[in-house]
């Protein structure tokens, strides 16, 4: 039965592979090709310029700033989001005290309500979330400073998005707010598949919440956490960071370039400055960063898998 197996497989794979090559691989190759030209994006004419764009990129102070911000996004955002999500989903699913007559493993009181609350931001498009928070951060009439005034902290009125040392963090907080719910649901699903008797055994042995979490939940959830980490990192390097930075910190990416990220810089060079070739060069750099990030997380996260 082995003969013809490969022909069979190839027959099935030809079409999807062809589509993949045409719509995914080919554009990548094209972009890399354009990064060696002086294409403006506003006229069909261009010529090869060799490594000029790359040389320029290495001397470009704003590029380095945007790289730095993108790296902060890729490292801090997953860390904060996933830690929070792990904590929340643990409390929702496992962290509750045993109640009389109830199951042994249970979440804190009102956990089904919290689940909905956490997930709620997910139904809003990132553009709406960004706009909402842009209003909330308004130093004059925004919600946050109004609350500060309301509780007697009228002297603390940060400029938020107008302050170069706060703007990046303010933007990241919005992304955490809007994505943490997704991971709560993801991790909740993962925890649901962990057998309850493991927890029962741990509880009988007198394990507290913290050791239950670190000895049982986290190790058994590790694969989910790792894929969540990669997913979040790619979001933070790509689409989501672009949306919030573009919408919230209007202008060139915050005061004094404090929130410029790589995707935003690609966009500005291509669609504002008429330097599409240079934009593809930064795009190539972004590709390298993203690949390196994914490879690093895979490498560092490698560990023995437990089966149950």
């Amino acid at each position: 039965m082995q003969h013809g197996k490969y022909r069979f497989i190839v027959g099935f794979l030809a079409l999807p592979l062809g589509l993949y090559a045409l719509f995914v691989v080919w554009p990548f190759i094209q972009s890399i090709y354009y990064s060696f030209t002086d294409w403006t994006g506003l006229s069909p004419e261009f010529k090869m310029v060799g490594l000029d764009n790359y040389r320029r990129m290495l001397d470009d102070e704003i590029f380095w700033k945007s790289l730095q911000h993108s790296l902060i996004f890729a490292l801090v955002l997953p860390l904060v989001t996933i830690s929070l999500a792990l904590f929340f989903s643990f409390m929702i699913n496992v962290g509750g005290r045993k109640r009389r007559g109830g199951p042994v493993v249970t979440g804190v009181r009102g956990s089904s309500f919290y689940k909905i609350v956490y997930f709620f931001p997910q139904v809003l498009s990132i553009a709406i979330v960004a706009l909402l928070f842009a209003f909330a951060y308004n130093p004059d009439s925004g919600a946050i400073n109004s609350i500060l005034r309301g509780i007697g902290l009228g002297s603390v009125q940060p400029l938020w998005l107008g302050d170069p040392s706060l703007a990046l963090w303010a933007v990241m907080a919005v992304l955490v707010w809007s994505t943490v719910g997704f991971f709560v649901v993801l991790f909740s699903a993962g925890m649901a598949s962990i057998p309850a008797d493991l927890y029962e055994a741990a509880l009988l042995d007198g394990a507290g919440r913290a050791s239950t979490f670190f000895r049982i939940t986290l190790p058994l959830l590790w694969d989910t956490v790792q894929s969540g980490w990669v997913y979040m990192g790619i979001l933070a390097l790509g689409a989501e960071s672009f949306a919030v930075v573009q919408i919230m910190t209007t202008g060139p990416g915050g005061p004094d370039y404090s929130t410029t990220v790589m995707v935003l810089y690609v966009y500005q060079k291509a669609f504002r400055d008429g330097q599409a070739a240079y934009a593809t060069t930064i795009g190539v750099a972004l590709l390298v960063v993203t690949l390196a990030f994914a490879a690093l997380v895979m490498r560092l996260g490698r560990r023995e898998r437990l089966e149950y």
Binding site: F23, V24, W26, P27, F28, Q30, S31, Y34, W39, T40, G41, L42, S43, P44, Y137, N138, P139, D140, N145, Q157, W160, G162, D163, D223, Q226, S227, V230, Y231, I234, L235, L237, G238, A239, T250, G251, P252, P255, D256, Y257, V263, V266, Y267, A270, F271, D273, G274, Q275, A276, Y278, A279, T280, G283, V284, L286, L287, A294, M298, E304, R305, E307
Partner: protein, 486 residues
């Protein structure tokens, strides 16, 4: 079963390991490196520009540009603060004049995303209002020979008077603004914008003050306002490149127009001129003395305009579009007024009244358009007295057509703008940084320089040093085209 790692699981056992799944989802995620594939998708080999141009029509007195009266004309308008009604009215006139011609008119806010692919394919429309946040870079378009020279239009007889060229009916400076290097005129600016310090005459009256002419008077007015619980100034903190609307003409007033020209020409040490320092110091004093509305650096243009219209601040640097843009937040009895910027004192090189006014709403005719004559004819119609009046009465802004305000009731802001222009006489300056070097003007000088200074995070001396550094870098940057005042 014990434990097994993903590496072991692929011998024999079918299915996809979780690790593989992660790897694949990572690969898929990479597709979202968003612009790369999109950028490539819009690059093309490009059509050649010969062939399908519309044939020239017959040149007559009524048709001096020899428009082919059966050819299609396509017009894409930026649908912004001025709306689209004025252009639709002008299109109707074109259709009446050439009943056999088909006109394709569309209005969009997304100029660049709509038109960039068409420039790349070599099939752009015949007339474009290249404006708004998605304005295509004019320097690049000119540098890549994508624009038609509008000289035939300027030398054609005007729509109203066959003995007058279009060129002679325009406000001073309009033609020069459309030039980059040498004679060809690439851009026709249709609107005419007055920049300056905008305020409520009523609020000023309530303080028993006149508009201040020297900086000491300015500080006194602000002090008085502060005592009444009103800030002296606000500005678009997230877009601090609005500050130059009053700051640049002030620099010209203090140090002479050569200072601004040197800045535009990116001459070494242009920003180190003492006049620049004096004006920066003056503005910085507004911050130091607490005359700037609290929280201003975090406001965008709409928010700052709203705060100003609500009477939280007295003055705001802005352009004449503010009257239309803020129409629904400006109270009825606001009595909107504009003034030329306040100077330092009587030793200033230019008189009080020196103001920045220049063309706005840039219209272009692409070189590769099929019906360039049609595009220019549409512009000629728009530059007639009737169309100009129609624009002014509908959107409260002047046009490039010199005059055209008789017989229509002017709104307070517009009236004050006309008066300011009259008072300025020849002392109208036109700094070019914002159309020659967009990034330098907006991001670097505006946000990174002036914005930081007005938020109190840079001293004037530091701001000047930083801005001079940006200007020097721009002068050296071979990827941008450089211009000089003629």
């Amino acid at each position: 079963m014990g434990s097994t790692s993903a590496e072991n699981s692929n011998n024999g056992s079918a299915g996809v390991g979780r690790r593989d799944l992660i790897k694949r989802s990572a690969a898929l995620g990479l597709i979202s490196v968003p612009t790369m594939s999109f950028l490539s998708a819009c690059a093309s080999s490009g059509g050649d520009d010969s062939g399908d141009k519309a044939k020239a029509g017959k040149k007559t007195a009524k048709n001096p540009l020899a428009v082919n009266d059966t050819a299609q004309m396509e017009f894409v308008l930026f649908d912004g603060g001025f709306g689209k009604e004025y252009a639709e009215d002008a299109v109707k006139i074109y259709e009446t004049n050439f009943p056999k011609a088909k006109v394709k008119f569309s209005a969009t806010q997304k100029i660049q995303s709509t038109l960039q692919p068409r420039f790349n394919q070599g099939t752009p429309p015949d007339l474009i209002d290249n404006s708004g946040a998605e304005q295509m870079d004019m320097g690049v378009l000119v540098g890549k020979n994508q624009l038609a020279d509008l000289t035939p239009l300027l030398d054609a007889p005007s729509y109203d008077d066959p003995n007058k060229k279009v060129r002679d009916t325009l406000r001073p400076g309009i033609v020069e603004m459309g030039q980059f290097d040498g004679d060809p005129v690439w851009i026709m600016y249709y609107a005419y914008t007055v920049y300056g310090v905008w305020y409520s005459q009523k609020a000023l009256d309530s303080l028993d003050e006149q508009y201040p002419e020297t900086w000491d008077q300015m500080l006194a007015v602000c002090e008085k306002a502060k005592k009444k619980g009103m800030a002296g100034w606000t500005y678009a903190g997230k877009y601090p490149y609005y500050i130059p609307f009053s700051l640049y003409p002030m620099i010209a007033k203090v140090g002479g127009v050569e200072v601004l020209d040197a800045i535009d020409n990116l001459e070494p040490n242009a920003w180190k001129n003492p006049a620049v320092k004096a004006c920066f110091d003056a503005y910085y004093e507004l911050y130091k003395k607490g005359y700037v509305l609290k929280g201003t650096p975090g406001l965008d243009h709409i928010q700052s305009q709203t705060a100003w219209a609500q009477g939280k601040a007295l003055f705001i640097p802005n352009g004449s579009w503010v009257e239309n843009e803020s129409a629904n937040v400006i109270p009825k009895d606001f009595d909107l007024a504009v003034s030329a910027p306040t100077g330092i004192d009587s030793s200033d090189k230019m008189p009080f009244g020196t103001i920045w006014a220049s063309g706005g709403e840039p219209f272009i005719v692409p070189a590769k358009a099929k019906n360039t004559a049609g595009g220019m004819e549409q512009l000629r119609i728009m530059l007639s007295e009737a169309s100009s009046k129609n624009f002014t009465s509908k959107v409260k802004s002047l046009t490039a057509y010199n005059g055209g305000t008789d017989g229509i009731t002017l709104t307070p802001g517009l009236k004050s703008g006309v008066a300011a222009l009259e008072k300025a006489g020849d002392n109208v300056v036109n700094p070019r940084l914002q159309d020659w070097y967009v990034q330098l003007q907006k991001e670097q000088i505006g946000v990174a320089g002036l914005g930081e200074m007005m938020a109190g995070r840079l001293t004037p001396a530091e701001a000047i040093k930083k801005i001079q550094g940006f200007a020097d870098a721009a002068a050296k940057d071979s990827s941008i085209k450089h211009y000089k005042h003629q």
